[in-house]
């Protein structure tokens, strides 16, 4: 069976390739969640390839209003309206002669427009008691026959939500359930593919957002199949930037692909440690510093004060600082962004300062352990040496739970900084654990400066 890509970023990954030609899919969810935007985004993406769409509105907003709202979307091309994307209203036919007339309208307009994608927006699927009326059931059945005969793929957009076991839900080829999940002050848009004939899907909930470029989906990271990475993984160790520490680790620093947790309270030197590690980045070993509290200007200034040449390394192109402070992204959005960045920049050294910023999301309390585990595995696969700073107090506040010892078990190396044990710029670092090494439970005096 031929696949029809949705072209919506992330959605075809959830579906393992896209929709099936000739299928009828229900998109259900509350008003404003993004169904109409998704349908139009798909229509205009297909229009760019010369594929035509027939968009039938029932009780939805007027076409002119819908098009006005889409002017702000980068996928919208007005010259495609009535050239590749055809909008007609089915309301009059429905009002006068019922759904049978709508089927006749759809049949006639599909033949006239030669559209391969049909969108019916605003169909009321359910009665007040939550079940589908006999008329709608017949409509869906006839629609299925029609789109199969005309080799067309159909999206039915509805604000209703059918019962999981209802007859109508078994009739269609797929059900996409959209929701706007609210928890206290925050909300997240989520999708669950509740049914999909013909292929497995990535099950469970996936977050998405609506941007000026349309919808973007962020499949739940730990549920994606593990894919091989086409990237040469180096074999040499990576210096921490601090010779005293390098000596106690593996013959020169961190093992390739290893990940480390640097634990310490506020003011203990975690950020400084991260800066010193990042300052050792070169064009052959590019670095990425992801900061959840400081801005890039703050970090450059701090580096300057400590004699860490962060500015020069950034200017050379060997290091990128990405500040994610005070953004309201979902956990998966952060994860996908990180992976995209490390791949684009071919990063070898990564600092995530700090884990509390990632934990301050709706999903982390439930999924944090598995999510971090998968993220670290992805970095390891790419040969990236990563360093996560962890402030236990901040993590407790952000995640709503204290730092679980099990989380540290995910990391190859656990290094602890204590602000109580310092002598000027020198610190005592407690090397709690170094995987595949006897160097554990050691105390090392380090100066948090390069060299």
């Amino acid at each position: 069976m031929k696949r029809v890509p949705t072209t919506i970023p992330g959605l075809d990954d959830i579906l393992f390739g896209g929709l099936f030609e000739g299928g009828v899919y229900i998109l259900e969810g509350p008003p404003g969640v993004g169904k109409t935007t998704l349908a139009n985004q798909m229509a205009y993406a297909h229009a760019r390839r010369g594929v035509k769409t027939l968009y039938v509105t029932m009780l939805a907003e007027s076409h002119a209003r819908m098009l006005q709202h889409m002017e702000g979307q980068s996928f919208f091309r007005r010259q495609s309206v009535s050239a590749e994307v055809f909008y007609v209203s089915g309301y009059r036919d429905f009002e006068q002669d019922g759904l049978k007339a709508v089927i006749e309208l759809v049949r006639g307009e599909l033949a006239r427009s030669k559209a391969s994608l049909l969108i019916v927006d605003g169909l009321v699927v359910e009665n007040s008691n939550g079940s589908m009326s006999e008329g709608v059931r017949r409509f869906v059945h006839e629609l299925q026959s029609l789109v199969t005969a005309m080799t067309c793929t159909c999206l039915l957009l509805t604000s209703g939500r059918g019962s999981m076991h209802s007859a109508e839900q078994t009739m269609v080829d797929g059900i996409f359930a959209f929701e706007d999940h609210v928890s206290r002050w925050r909300s997240e848009r989520r999708l669950q593919v509740r049914k999909f004939r013909g292929s497995e899907v990535v099950r469970g909930f996936h977050t998405f957002c609506i941007t000026p470029d349309g919808l973007k989906f962020f499949p739940r990271l730990e549920s994606l199949p593990v894919q091989p990475v086409e990237r040469e993984v180096p074999e040499n160790t990576v210096s921490t930037g601090m010779p005293a520490l390098d000596r106690v680790l593996h013959a020169g620093g961190f093992l390739p692909g290893s990940n480390s947790a640097v634990v310490g309270n506020s003011g203990s030197g975690k950020t400084t440690f991260g800066l010193v590690f990042s300052a050792a980045s070169t064009l052959a070993e590019p670095g990425l510093y992801v900061a959840y509290t400081e801005s890039s200007t703050d970090l450059e200034r701090l580096g300057g004060q400590l004699g860490v040449p962060i500015g020069a390394v950034i200017e050379s192109g060997a290091l990128t600082i990405e500040s994610l402070s005070h953004q309201d992204d979902s956990l998966d959005e952060m994860g996908h962004r990180l992976l995209r960045m490390v791949d684009e920049l071919k990063v070898r050294r990564l600092v995530v300062d700090g884990l509390a910023g990632m934990a301050d999301t709706l999903a982390f309390p439930e999924r944090g352990y598995r999510f971090v585990g998968r993220l670290l595995a992805e970095f390891k696969k790419r040969g990236i040496v990563s360093l996560f700073t962890i402030d236990p107090a901040a993590l407790s506040i952000a995640a709503g739970t204290s730092l679980a010892p099990g989380v540290l078990g995910l990391f190859d190396n656990v290094l602890e900084l204590s602000d109580a044990e310092r002598d000027g710029e020198a610190r005592v670092m407690h090397v709690r654990k170094v995987r595949a090494s006897r160097a554990s439970d050691l105390r090392v005096n380090i100066a948090l400066q390069p060299g």
């Binding site: 509105t57 007027s62 076409h63 002119a64 209003r65 098009l67 006005q68 007005r78 010259q79 309206v81 009535s82 050239a83 055809f86 909008y87 007609v88 209203s89 089915g90 309301y91 009059r92 036919d93 009002e95 309208l105 006639g108 307009e109």
Partner: protein, 147 residues
């Protein structure tokens, strides 16, 4: 009272336009697509036609073509109202008398319709290249002077 035929598949838009022009003192007939509009034209010839472009069964271009092909209706002022780009509309039908982008400015719509109803359709557009070819062909033939 003059009759305006409004051809629009979107129920809400059609009703609003009806209210506006009835308040201005016109009679209004509604049709939800081109086929319906042709039936209305047979019943009574309006002073003007205001038509949407994207409609099911028979769209605005197909309606306009049918109207211009019928001697009984071809001089009725025809205003196309659409969210589609005008050049896309023009590719299917270009013999309308005015084009107004949706959502329409009501004042502009009213002024356009009233001007057309008062003065009638503008003269047929003259293509200077065709005029020159015609003059070449007609050279040597005594033609009455143009007004």
């Amino acid at each position: 009272m003059k009759l305006i035929l409004i051809v629009e598949d979107e129920h809400g838009n059609a009703e609003v336009l009806r209210m506006i022009f009835e308040a201005l003192g016109y009679r209004v007939a509604l049709a939800s697509n081109g086929k319906d509009a042709l039936k209305q034209l047979d019943a009574e010839v309006p002073a003007a036609i205001l038509s949407d472009f994207m409609m099911p069964h028979m769209n605005g271009a197909e309606l306009g073509t049918a109207v211009r092909a019928n001697p009984k209706f071809r001089d009725i002022p025809f205003v196309m109202v659409s969210a589609t780009n005008e050049d896309v509309v023009r590719r299917s039908f270009d013999d309308y008398d005015a084009f107004i982008a949706k959502p329409p400015d009501v004042d502009q719509l009213q002024q356009t319709l009233e001007r057309l109803m008062e003065r009638g359709r503008p003269s047929p557009r003259r293509d200077p290249d065709i005029d020159e070819s015609m003059r070449h062909l007609l050279r040597g033939i005594d033609m009455p002077p143009e007004d």
